[in-house]
């Protein structure tokens, strides 16, 4: 387990939900998918979700599955409505310029896997 803060630093992440403290979020892995029906069935709590999907439904899916943070790859940034909903649901939203493969790889290394 690592703190989300460490991961954000490693990927040069931008926090779109600064009201949430990433130091308090512990993560043990990631789920990578852009298909929300797949994420709903397979993602687990304590995993971050790496995706390029920015539709508002991502927040509901994260909330349902217990995902504490969503990492948007390739510099994708969620719009204001998505950020507002994320705050309501206490889900941290991070953007990084890295691609999905790199984002997953960096976390894999950080976790010492």
């Amino acid at each position: 387990m690592i703190k989300l803060t460490e991961y954000i630093a490693a990927i040069g992440g931008e926090n779109h939900t600064p009201a949430l403290d990433p130091d308090e979020i512990l993560i043990s892995g990631a789920y990578v998918s852009d298909m929300l029906s797949d994420v709903m069935g397979s993602a687990k709590p304590e995993q971050v979700w790496i995706t390029i999907m920015k539709h508002l439904n991502v927040i509901a899916v994260a909330s349902m599955t217990g995902i504490p943070a969503i990492i948007f790859a390739k510099g994708h940034a969620p719009d204001a409505a998505v950020c507002d909903k994320a705050l309501e649901e206490s889900i941290c939203l991070i953007s990084s310029k890295y691609e999905t493969f790199e984002l997953a790889g960096i976390l894999y290394k950080l976790l010492g896997k």
């Binding site: 852009d34 298909m35 929300l36 029906s37 994420v39 709903m40 999907m53 920015k54 539709h55 439904n57």
Partner: protein
């Protein structure tokens, strides 16, 4: 499916009204409209838009001018990637006599840069009806891509696949109980045509009437029984 072969097959099947919904283009609608008219079939302009979320969204139009104006906007929203005919075939645009007018070089298989909300806004702006395609499909359906039907945009009509057992599906998805459904063949070949149609009671074969049938206005209805 050439326009004449399609119309002949539809007459055999006693289908009176059809639309074609090619991927991201309505360029072939004029040819099909002309052949349908001669065959005595009703035809509606349609297209299957692939949104940035890779949702397939059907759009139907009554006014060909509105449809063509929409088609131009849609074309501009497609990524400027060349089609690879070895994989996806030649994207031919034909006339009613099946002469090739031109070959579309931009890859129509790709997504538009529009998200689902923008795509629906565009369809409505040009007088069309937006219907999420094959919502029960495992890929490229609004539910496969977004997990569940988002509260907005609100869809009155949802597309379903040829073989779906709708009553069973509704038991699994009680949240869709108040929706209207439109069963389509999604036929890519003549042999796909036998299944996947619905019966509508309407006053005329227009897209506007489909919406009214969905609302069960004045005795109109859509019957999706197989």
């Amino acid at each position: 499916m050439s326009p004449s072969a399609l119309c002949a097959r539809l007459k055999e099947l006693d289908t009176q009204w059809f639309a074609i919904t090619d991927h991201n283009s309505m360029a072939n609608c004029p040819a099909y409209a002309a052949v349908a008219r001669k065959a005595g079939l009703y035809f509606s302009w349609g297209v299957e838009i692939q949104t940035v979320e890779e949702i397939h969204l059907l759009a139907y139009f009554d006014d060909p001018r509105g449809a063509q104006a929409f088609d131009q906007e849609l074309y501009q929203s497609l990524l400027p990637i060349e089609n690879d005919p070895d994989f996806f075939g030649d994207q031919v645009i034909i006339d009613e006599n099946e002469n090739i007018l031109r070959v579309e070089s931009r890859a129509l298989i790709n997504s538009s840069i529009w998200d689902i909300t923008t795509a629906v806004q565009q369809v409505l702006a040009f007088g069309g009806l937006a219907v999420p395609a094959h919502i029960d499909a495992e890929v490229n359906s609004i539910i496969s891509q977004l997990g569940f039907l988002p509260p907005s945009p609100d869809f009155e009509i949802l597309g379903i696949t040829a073989r779906l057992n709708l009553p069973e599906y509704l038991q699994q998805h009680p949240e869709l109980a108040d929706k209207a459904f439109l069963r389509a063949s999604d036929a890519h070949y003549l042999s796909d045509l036998k299944q996947g149609s619905c019966t509508m009671r309407v006053q005329e074969a227009t897209v506007q009437e489909i919406l009214w049938a969905a609302r069960k206005l004045d005795g109109r209805y859509i019957n999706n029984d197989t």
